[in-house]
């Protein structure tokens, strides 16, 4: 068993602001780039269509945000398909933390499975953070998973990370395979007790 069991206590680095509600996974990584048998190349196509359409005016093409490791977004980020290609492409592009007003559920779950942090902020705190990063993209932004806070030039504010997710990140149990394998005997028992598994 070589499962990664690294604890994720915080994420810090420069941030990039990407505005817009309901940014779906088709926009994060258009489906045509999913025709791959490994995830190696998906980072290169992050937001490809949006970036082409924006003709250089997309946040990801903004030099001021270059090298950012935290992406600050609005509402319902990552809605749409369950493709893990979306967090994979964000991770491979260099993001390992996300701060937004809300995240789509499957997206957030997929992030956790990769050890990426999704933290939510109230509307006002988020707006303040966006404004501050906009003005001063050089500043360090930090998501503290343990304390559930976001720190920036604006100060330190409380953020939300669901209990279970927080525990998984802190304990390094976000890669679930190892943890699930540990329950192997119980799995057999549960399976045998299910009439449809045993053939009625």
């Amino acid at each position: 068993m070589t499962a990664t069991r690294a604890s994720v206590e915080s994420v810090s680095g420069r941030a990039c602001v990407l505005r817009g509600d309901d940014i779906d996974t088709d926009r994060i990584i258009p489906a045509r780039f999913m025709k791959v048998v490994t995830f190696d190349s998906v980072g290169e196509h992050l937001f490809e269509d949006d970036r082409l359409a924006a003709k250089g005016n997309h946040a990801l093409d903004d030099d001021r945000y270059e090298g950012a490791s935290i992406l600050v977004v609005d509402k319902n980020f990552g809605c749409g398909s369950s493709r893990e290609h979306a967090p994979q492409s964000l991770m491979r592009f260099g993001f390992n933390g996300f701060i937004g007003e809300s995240f789509a559920e499957i997206f957030a779950g997929n992030c956790t499975a990769l050890g990426l942090v999704c933290a939510t902020l109230g509307e006002d705190d988020l707006e303040n953070l966006m404004g501050s990063v906009d003005l001063d993209p050089e500043q360090e932004v930090r998501i503290d998973v343990e304390a559930r806070t976001v720190t920036s030039r604006v100060g330190t504010v409380a953020c939300q990370i669901p209990d279970g997710t927080r525990r998984q990140l802190l304990e390094g149990s976000w890669d679930a395979t190892g943890m699930l394998l540990d329950g192997a005997e119980d799995v057999t028992k549960t399976a045998e007790a299910l009439p449809y598994v045993s053939g009625f």
Binding site: T2, G20, D21, D22, D24, D26, R27, P30, A31, R32, M34, K35, V36, V37, T38, F39, D49, L52, A53, K75, N76, C79, G80, S81, S82, R83, E84, P87, Q88, S102, E105, I106, G109, N110, A113, L114, P162, D163, G164, R167, Q168, E171, S173, A176, T177, M179, L180, L181, G183, D186, V187, T190, A191, A193, L194, P195, Y196, V197, G199, F200
Partner: protein, 469 residues
């Protein structure tokens, strides 16, 4: 717990709970794992890296749907990337002893179409698949989750998921659907009412007379789009309609075992008086044929309504309405009726089953596809195609100017040659109208029922199907 009435979700959860995990989540046993070519290769690779076998190969079924072309499916596929994905799936299934419904099997199709038609999808079970529309299988009273690739790996290796329990919202339908109004309209109306985020944290239980009166295929359409409403899964309690549908299906229990199964399935249904975290009502009699005008499925209207103006839009939606109007090139206050279309797509896991094709053909008989409109009919599976051909529906479509294609996901997401070009507008029976979803980064999608798509095809614009039927 014994005598308190419980809902189906809670019963299924309890029956499949392996143990509580240190993370606070539940280790949940997954009865059936469905696999397709796009989200599985990386998961199999992770398994190989860790030297792990597939835990329950006989509870795992695979098919190819997303990348398969719908003109010629002869191997090798002309798209090398698609051929590579297909070869990889074949290899993984061979190496791990997993049943693959490939093109040669005669049972290939969209994963959410073939599971039900093979009798693999059963009430009271848990199902997972690396595809968000796995919620479709909830129509049988299964709890079915769309999962990411790391979770596909988890299920392959352990037949389990680590999950937090969901809340349950009962969506109680009332009244009766009017002629020309379909399951698709109901599901769009629910999303409009509750919002594209409304379901976050919930499983949806669809109930009430409108749902009770629906066929199993219609219930699949409703459950399919649970995910568009933000819900993690959606289900309908099993009833006689469910048992009749399942009787005699290849993978369903047979003979006496079937009768024992029905007893168990019945015992898993929600009981009167069960607790729900939330209950909402929706009036089926008030639902009209519905069309999306924007860039998320909640931006929809009854066909006789007008696109909202910004000042009648709530503050927090204004930005997205403005963005949608701009992208779709529509005007606030414009009627949805009469919007011209370039492409008509009938198919997908939402609406690519035999009953959908029958309804579309019924409308197609009333005219010819408008010159300049490209109209595709793509059956959801090889079974659906055979049945349609036996009923002569393929002939009807061809005679009226529609293309009759081979089964696959086709233009639902355009990971295959079927794509919109440029700014084309597509009347589509699929489930997502996101920017760029149908293969052109600037392509536009109007979601509607298959009958409405057929009507749009023969008029070259959005029309009210009730005036044709």
């Amino acid at each position: 717990m014994g005598n308190t009435p419980r809902n189906l979700f809670d019963k299924v959860w309890e029956a499949h709970r392996v143990r509580e995990l240190p993370s606070g989540q539940t280790q949940l046993f997954i009865g059936t794992h469905l696999v397709h070519e796009v989200t599985s290769p990386q998961a199999f690779a992770m398994l190989r890296e860790r030297d792990l076998p597939v835990r329950f190969p006989n509870r795992t079924f695979a098919t190819v749907d997303h990348i398969i072309p719908t003109d010629s499916q002869v191997r090798p596929l002309s798209d090398e990337l698609a051929e590579a994905m297909m070869t990889e799936l074949e290899r993984n299934c061979r190496d791990h002893d997993i049943h693959l419904f490939d093109v040669a099997s005669g049972h290939q199709g969209i994963v959410h179409v073939i599971g039900p038609e093979q009798g693999i999808t059963l009430p009271g079970s848990t199902i997972a698949c690396g595809d968000s529309h796995t919620s479709t299988h909830g129509a049988f009273g299964a709890i079915a989750f769309g999962i990411g690739t790391s979770q596909v790996r988890d299920v392959l290796a352990t037949q389990c998921l680590a999950m937090a329990r969901l809340k349950v919202r009962r969506i109680e339908t009332t009244g009766k659907l009017n002629p020309g109004v379909y399951a698709k309209d109901v599901t769009l109306a629910i999303i409009r009412q509750l919002g594209v985020n409304g379901g976050v944290g919930y499983a949806y239980e669809y109930a009430g007379p409108v749902i009770d009166a629906m066929s199993l295929e219609e219930r699949m359409t409703v459950c399919n789009m649970s995910i568009e409403g933000g819900a993690r899964c959606g289900y309908v309690n099993p009833d006689e309609t469910t048992y009749d549908y399942l009787r005699g299906r290849p993978y369903a229990p047979q003979g006496d075992a079937f009768e024992r199964a029905v007893d168990w399935w019945r015992s898993m249904a929600s009981e009167p008086g069960a607790h729900y975290d939330d209950v909402v009502e929706i009036d089926g009699s008030a639902v009209a044929p519905t069309v999306t005008w924007g860039i998320n499925p909640g931006q929809n209207l009854g066909v006789d309504e007008k696109i909202p103006t910004l000042h009648e839009t709530p503050d927090d939606e204004r930005a997205s309405v403005a963005e949608a109007l701009d992208y779709m090139d529509l005007r606030a206050g414009q009627p949805i009726l009469g919007i011209p279309i370039d492409v008509a797509f009938i198919g997908s896991c939402t609406n690519g089953r035999i009953s959908d094709l029958r309804e579309a053909a019924r409308v197609a008989r009333h005219g010819q596809v408008q010159p300049g409109v490209r109209a595709l009919v793509v059956p959801g599976s090889q079974e659906v195609a055979r049945q349609a051909e036996a009923e002569g529906l393929d002939e009807v479509f061809r005679a009226h100017g529609f293309q009759w294609r081979e089964p696959g996901c086709s233009m639902c997401l355009a990971m295959n040659p079927d794509k919109l070009q440029g700014r084309e507008v597509c009347a589509s029976s699929s489930n997502r109208n996101f920017k760029g979803r149908q293969g052109s980064p600037s392509g536009r999608t109007l979601l509607m029922s298959p009958a409405m798509v057929a009507a749009a095809a023969i008029h070259g614009k959005v029309v009210d199907v009730r005036e044709i039927l």
